[in-house]
Symmetry: none
DNA sequence: CATGAATGAGCGTTCATTCAT
DNA sequence: TATGAATGAACGCTCATTCAT
């Protein structure tokens, strides 16, 4: 691939990421192209349709997450520390996009598979932390994962914002109580 | 207003509520009219444009919330109990709609005002609970409100789902810790 | 269906028929709408896409042909007379459209079925004429039908133009010869 | 012209001929280039636009026809034999393309002139055959030419298919009859 | 008042043609 | 000279909104 083509591709992906985040997944394609400083035709040469563009971004986010997560699981001493590290890492990623797309894309596009992989990774971390006694045991791992997904997929999530903090605190075993 | 006109208006609002929840705020107007069992013309007679329809639903949700909240504040013995009651009550409401609309509508439409009112109410409850020592004091009331908003505005939130539970647990004073 | 809607539908079909004949099946939809004196939206209300429009016209032509053909088979004394009558009748019909569409449309759209029916009818007439000794017997009926199709599907075919005449003459039994 | 440039030009013309025959005159230029094994840029270097490409092919076909026809007129003993030979020869030629282009191209492009020349040649042959008493005299030569053009320009015409045979038979003087 | 037909601006996508590499 | 990336005009189609019935 030619150098300028490569640069264009990246500019498009970057512009799309920004605009999807700012205005949702329905931004008009011309707008994306314009923001990237290219013509629509160029956009379509690189991504055959809107979905391909969304997919590219979403898959990238999931791959980054999985890669980081696998590393964290090895690197960190405890499951809890790994969990916290991963959750913090998620903040910069366009995971909301990934989540909503994964729900509407058929298997074979690769996205549901990536999402499954990422869910599995999270579940492994949660189980380890529950084994240590740090994460509360009254919630089954997949539910914890789903719950973390909500926190982590908010548009505009920051690695140390209050919601993340409160959620992590609420997940500790010693915080279990009857709030009914 | 004639009785049948009134009934039409309600049927339209109900259909819109369902469809917005199910398929997002972009459902096409014909679909809503059809689901309500009326022609598009009738829809437009009652609501001059799409926004008016959204606004109607959103404002209704906020009014319900405010009314319930004010009652809870009087009725319940503690701030904590009031907070829990209100959070639980939110589950059935189309608050996600209200939130996203309120952000994009100018003052004067009434929605930002209602949102402000609801935020104030929440803040009062939070302050009271912090005063009692139940809600953690390291987070300023407005931030707590923002955080609750996220939890409560999820599409598909249930009054006793895990996320709500964990969040409420995490908000207790005794759960404060260093999660870094 | 309201009277004006009905009128619009007919105007659209008529305009489309003319334009397809004049400029081929790729005329732009806006042009058709304009020629019919309606907006594009109206065109699309009546015909969900270009194919539906083509299909409507083509199917109409085939139905007319089949109806006329069945009548001719009963009405005329000889197979030859029926054949000539039918061939002459074809001239005004947009059969070229029907032929080309039928080849590219899947069964279930109704067009291939109609084409089959029309072919069968033609074949019956041809067999009868061959039985009488008027149509040459060295060509199998389906081939005669195919051959007639070419003559009859020319854009601009006239009921008594030279090509039709020569073709009919050439089909007589007494004209068989070695032209190699 | 460099040898490889010459080869490219031929490959492009050949690919275009095939694709025009298979998929009509709207095939996209990239497809042609790809089929020819070159980039689009190369295609455009040799043929400044789509029409030039079509023109090249069409003109080639007409030149072949004219050359063969002139030879046949000298070589064959009778006008009839010349006519048959020429008609048979047409089968392999992309004359449909030539016909449709000639109708839409202005004089000066060379195509209408070539078509005129080919028509004249055909007319000469027909007149000679009518003089011999083989071709029917009730149709003026230009009309016979037009009629032969239809037969000969069908996509997929074969030199000895039924349509050609029947048409030639129908053109014989002794086949004249009242088919009304 | 209710209806649903008509309108046309707007978006996604394609492709002929140009031009930097 | 060959390449294929970039461009943007054009087309198919949708849908919010208006208005005749």
């Amino acid at each position: 691939m030619r150098a300028d083509a490569q640069r264009n591709r990246e500019r498009i992906a970057a512009a799309a990421l920004t605009l999807f985040a700012e205005r949702g997944p329905d931004v008009c394609m011309d707008t994306i192209a314009q923001a990237a400083g290219v013509g629509v035709g160029t956009l379509y040469r690189h991504f055959p349709d809107r979905q391909a563009l969304l997919l590219d971004i979403a898959a990238g986010a999931l791959r980054d997450l999985i890669e980081f997560g696998a590393g964290a699981l090895e690197r960190e001493d405890t499951g809890w520390q790994a969990l916290v590290a991963i959750v913090r890492f998620c903040a910069g990623l366009p995971l909301a996009l990934a989540k909503s797309l994964a729900g509407s894309l058929p298997a074979g596009t690769g996205l549901p598979e990536l999402e499954q992989e990422s869910d599995d990774l999270f579940a492994r971390v949660v189980r380890r932390a529950q084994g240590e006694g740090t994460v509360r045991r009254d919630i089954p791992p997949p539910d914890v994962v789903a719950l973390l997904a909500v926190v982590v997929c908010r548009p505009g999530a920051r690695p140390d914002d209050h919601l993340t903090t409160v959620m992590l605190d609420g997940l500790r075993q010693e915080c279990v109580r009857a709030t009914s």
